[in-house]
Structures are given as C-alpha cells and as structure tokens.
C-alpha cells in the first residue's frame, strides 16, 4: 500500500485526528506531564512555596528507612486479606443470584447498591454503625449474642478488620456482577455432558464452573490488589490521622499527609513512585503466574 491518499481519505483522517485529539491531549497535559513532573520533583526537596532544591536520591533513601512507610505498607497489605474473602462471598452470592426467581433483579440491585454509593457517605455511616457504645453492630452483638463488641475503630487491633469488613460490604456487589456474567457465559453443554457421565453437583461446580471462571478470578484479584494498594478515601474518614497508633494508615494516606499536610512534595512523590513501581511489579508477577492457573478456552 503506497502513501498516496485520496482527498476523501485524507479528509477522513483529519476527522479521525480531530476526534482522537481531546482524550490524547487530555492525557498528555493532565496525565503524562504531571507524572513526568513528579518524577523530577521526587529528586528535589520542595514545599511548594520556595523553589525546589536538588537532593538526588535522598528522598528514596529516606523512605526506605522511614518507620511509617513500613507500617503503612504493612497496613495496606493486611487489608488485602479482604480480597479472597470478598471473592468467596461474591461468588457465593452470584450463584445464589444466578437463577430465575421472582424479584431476582430487585435482589441483584440491592446487592449492587453499595458499589454505586458515594464512599464518603458510606464511610460516615459505618462510623456510626461501628461506634462502640451506640453503634448498631455492637448493639446487635449484645442483644442477640450477649457479646460485648470491641471498639472497632478506636482499638489499634480492630481498625484493620473493621476496614476489611467495610470493604467487603461495599465491594462484593461489583464482583458479584462479574461472576454472574461469568456464570451465565458457561455453556450448558458442559453440564449436560457431565450429567450424562454421572457427575454430582459438587463435581460439576469444582470441575466445570470454577475452572471456567478463572479469567474472572484473575481479573478480580488483579483489580483487587491494585485497589487495595490505592485505598485512601475510607481511611481518610474512618481512621482520623491514621487511626490509633497509625494502625489504619495506608501508603496513599501517608503520601497524602506528606504532600498536603507537611508539604513535602518531593518525598511524597518519591513514595508515590515507589508505590507505582510496586504495583507494577506485583501486577506483572500476577500476569506471569496467570499462565499456570487461568484457563483460556
């Protein structure tokens, strides 16, 4: 194919570029430029009001020695316990919802509702539910089981489990929909063939359903890990100033504090880039391992 373009074709190309331009320019100006600038600033000490001074790798060296980086990273990874729990629950829910009974779409909507609820409003609500003396949860535990509930958000040992609980509540609906789509795309011929061979319900589930859902598992895990690394909003509301003894602070929260409370832009950028790289490599490893367990038909 030569480079000769007819007038019509050239005109069409011009239109193409015109339509493509807004998102591309948007990314270049508001995405790539700030990113590159933050690489530059991560080698500086900059408080936003004086001009930046070059400090080389100091920010990176410091963050490796910083106790709070380690602690917030630990907290972040701890919160990932919620991912497998969420997968199990949302798969269970998807199986329950994957049937044609009366009012099924209403039920599905109910479970999906937390996903589209604004996270700040939801967090404030949970703050009340988890209140030690007056919260709904502890009232229920006491009235129904006679258990004196813990101080969910005030006790350093309970902050993270509370955050996981909230994450489950607000997250399983979204994954449920993914699993539902996965379940409905499994061809019924597999099950028919298995039935003829005398497979029971469990065998059908573990040998057909689960393997055919592996691409969904994979997607949920990858997105869940990325999301967990980036969790911020609920921490900002529920764990004020990082929670008791900094037990609720995540890495992004730590970055936020340095950037917009102490105005250590250079250090915050360095931590952000280390986090970005960490996410990149964790995701890369997940993709490498995917060949071993994700079933592609």
């Amino acid at each position: 194919m030569g480079m000769k373009l007819t007038g019509y074709r050239r005109k069409e190309l011009a239109w193409l570029y015109l339509f493509v331009a807004p998102p591309v320019l948007g990314f270049l100006i508001f995405g790539l430029t700030p990113m590159l600038f933050s690489v530059y600033i991560s080698f500086q000490r900059w408080d936003m009001i004086t001009s930046p001074t070059w400090v080389g790798l100091d920010n990176y060296v410091e963050l490796l020695k910083d106790e709070k980086v380690i602690k917030s990273l630990y907290n972040t990874v701890y919160l990932m316990i919620g991912i497998p729990l969420g997968m199990m629950l949302s798969l269970l829910l998807a199986i329950l919802m994957n049937r044609s009974i009366r009012g099924i779409s209403f039920l599905r909507t109910m479970y999906y509702l937390p996903v589209i609820s604004p996270i700040i409003a939801v967090s404030l609500l949970w703050q009340w539910i988890l209140n030690q003396d007056y919260g709904l949860l502890n009232q229920m535990l006491w009235n129904w089981f006679g258990i004196a509930g813990p101080n969910w958000l005030g006790d350093a040992a309970w902050v993270k489990p509370s955050l996981i609980l909230i994450g489950l509540w607000s997250g399983i609906g979204g994954n449920m929909v993914l699993y539902l789509a996965g379940l409905q795309s499994v061809s019924s011929t597999y099950y028919e063939a298995a039935e003829i061979d005398g497979a029971n319900g469990w065998q059908k589930f573990s040998r057909i359903t689960l393997p055919l859902l592996t691409p969904i598992h994979f997607f949920v895990v990858v997105m869940g890990v990325i999301g967990a690394f980036q969790s911020f909003s609920q921490i900002y509301v529920l764990a004020v100033d990082g929670g008791p003894e900094y037990s609720g602070a995540t890495v992004v929260y730590y970055i936020f504090q340095h950037a917009f409370k102490y105005f250590n832009m250079g250090f915050a950028s360095a931590v952000a880039w280390m986090l970005g790289l960490l996410i990149f490599f964790v995701t890369l490893i997940q993709f490498k391992l995917a060949n071993r367990w994700v079933y592609q038909d």
């Binding site: 700030p34 990113m35 001009s51 980036q230 950037a259 105005f263 952000a272």
Partner: protein
Amino acid sequence: MKMKFKWSAMLLLAMTLVLSACGGNSNSGNQPVNSNKGNESSNQPSDETGTGNEPVTIEFMGHGNPSEKSIFEKLIASFEDRYPHVTVKYTSVPPGEYSQKLTTLISSGKAPDVFYVGGSEFYRFAEAGTILNLQSYLDGTELFDQDNVWKPALDRYRYNGEKVGTGDLYGLPKDVGPWTFVYNKTLFDEQGIAPPPAAAGEWTWDDMLAAAKQLTVDQNGDGRPEQYGVAAYTLESAVWANGGNFIDYETGQVLVNEPAFYEAMQFVADLTLVHNVSPNVEAEQSMNGYTRFLNGQLAMFAMGPWDQPAFWELPFEWDIAAWPASPATGETATWLGSMGFAVSNKSNHPQEAFDLAAFLSLDEYGQRQNYELGQAVPNLINMAKGEFLETDKAPANRQVFLDIIEDYGRPDVPAFSKDTQWIDLFWQQASRVWNGEVTAQQFTAEIQPKMQELYDKFNK
C-alpha cells in the same frame, strides 16, 4: 482469545501505572515551579492613599463557620465604605481544605492579597518570603496603637529573618484564643462542692482530683460512669504547670523525657487509669468530652472563646476558672492560640491590602462584633478590659480569659515550628500511655529520640 487476553493485559498494566501515579500526585502537575522570592521593591508603602485613587480590587481568603463568614461580610462592607476606591473579593473556604488550597494558590502565583495564616504556616511563609513585612506600613498608619494590642498576640507574628517571635511584624492577629478551664456550675452546686476559683494558683491538681471523684457518678455500677468529673485534661497545661516543656525552641532540644514532663503526663493518664474520673480512650471515642459537657454529663472541661455561642444555649450554668496548679510548683499554665492576617508579598496593592488587614484586626466595630457574637476576645486591650469584661453574658469570670493572655498563657506547641511532624508523632502514639500500655516515663524515653530526629530533620 489468547490475543485478546494479551491486549487486555497490556491495557490493565497501563491503567495501573496511570492510576497509581495519579493517586499520589494528582496535584503536582498544576504548579509551575515558581519561586516567590524577590519583589522586594514592593516593601515600600505607596504614598498614593489620598483621594481620587484608581479603583482597586483586592482578594481576601479565610476560613471558618457560617457565622464567622457573615461577620466578615459585614466588616468588609464597612471597610469598603471607609475606603470607597477598594473592592474586596472575599472567599471563605472550609477549614479542612484551607491550607491545601492556600498553598496551591501561592505556588501557582495566585496568592490572595490578604489571607489567614497561623502557627507553623506563618513560619514557613515568612521564611519563604511569601508574606510581606508589614513594619513600614504599621509605622505609617494611625489605625494602629501598638500598646493597645496584646503583646503575646503580636509577638507571634514577628520574624527576624531566622526565628518567629521577635523582629518585624509580618502579620496581624485576627484573634487571641486563650484555652480555658470550664466547669458545669450546676453540677458543683448540686453536690455542694465549692467551684474552682478564678485566681491562678489557688486550686491544685489535688483539689481538682478530689472534686472530680465526687462528681463522677456511675449510677448502674457497670464500671462505666454516666457522669465524669473531668475529660480530655489538657496535657500542655499539666506539663507547663509542672515546670516541664515539650521543647526548648532556643536550642531545639525536645524535652519530653524529663521528669517534669512525664510526671505531668502520668498525672493526666492516671485520671483515667487509676482514679476513673475521666473517660478512657474508648469512652472518649464513643462520646467525646465536648458532647458529654454539652449533655451535662461532665463537670470539668476545656474551652476556647469560640465555644461560647454553643455554650450560651446550654440549660445549665457554667463558668470558667483558672487551670489547676501543679502541687509541685504552685504554678499554672495553658496555651494561647491565635490566627493572623498576612499580606502577600506579591500583592499589586500592598497598601490597600495592609489597610484591610489592619482594619479587620484592629477596627473597633469589628472587634466589638467579634466578641458580642462570641467568636473571640478583643485584640484591643482597652476594649477587652472595658466593655468586654462588663458584658453580662456567661462566663461570669471573664477576667480568666484576660489573665491567660496577660499572665500564664503560652503559644501552643507547634506555633514556633516550621514542620509539625515531631509533635504529631507524639500525639499519634500517646494513646499507649492513655490506655495504660506503657508508663509515661517509658513512653517519653522511647519517643524522645524519634521526635528529636524529626525536629532536626525538618526544622533546622
């Protein structure tokens, strides 16, 4: 399918990168690197303040609750009456977003002409040359009589090129906020206990503890009192009264590991741990001292002048008193907060901006509005000692506010630090003492080196 999978994988990776980078740095792109130094030429007051001026517009940014906003709207209107050629564009932002917003504006070269500035921010801005040296303007104005403004309020806005506290004025006080001991008079009267006196030094920690024990009531005997004697006892007050200190700003030495400090801290912790007259961390979390006080379930607490409007609504009687003195020294102390007005060094109309700051800080009408609405104690000494003291609204012992300003109030701990991480770390970890995990002595010994390191790293 394989192909598709690869594509989606790449897309996902790209998204990961973009998302993670944006998550941390969404703001670093919109500030052109912009040094705010220079512009020294604008330090001279312009002498064209006479009549027939060009109309100018100056921007003023502050924060605060709706009532503060409406006070300022009125004040600005009367300022504009007096200076007809000046139009003021007033923006009020929610307090939580203020510092972030202001810093972003400054770094992008769009600083408002006049803005609130407080504590550690003042230090950073003065050092960076963001805010204007007001001394020459002050010397040329008739609005300002230095002897009629509280000295500790002015001193916070002095900067000598190196340290805050002495030197030229770079800001004017918006208010002075004496942090005051407050008690529920009705509860004291019901129990027949003599209320804490207004004069400093007459009441010690022991007296307070004795009263608190009588005023703590556990009606159903479940070990969680419904009414407490005291809550959130201010550690600064205890430490300073006991002769201790958080830091010596002269030498930059963090002093929390000294006996005078940790003994005071232990005293505060023991109010909960040993005597059970103060809500513990958990009880405080489920209902804080402020709410307990409003509910009439707390006998002694702390307040600032800005709490008056809410307290005026209370169905019981309340009053303020001197902070209890340490039995070891017989002294008492508390902190004195302040917020100030500063003028941007980049302002195109520094004279008008200064006029506005001075008007808001010192004008009688504004000061009167402020105290009548229960926002602050007047900055003007003659007004504070005159009509303010004679007001017949609660608290009856208004003199206590003035005693704190003149006598035993000190700048709050972070006021003279550029960076507050060292003290933030202390407060974050202090719960280990409040819940009895470690003693104050162990805790302060452990945390002092870390605080010192943070202080040295970011403040020297």
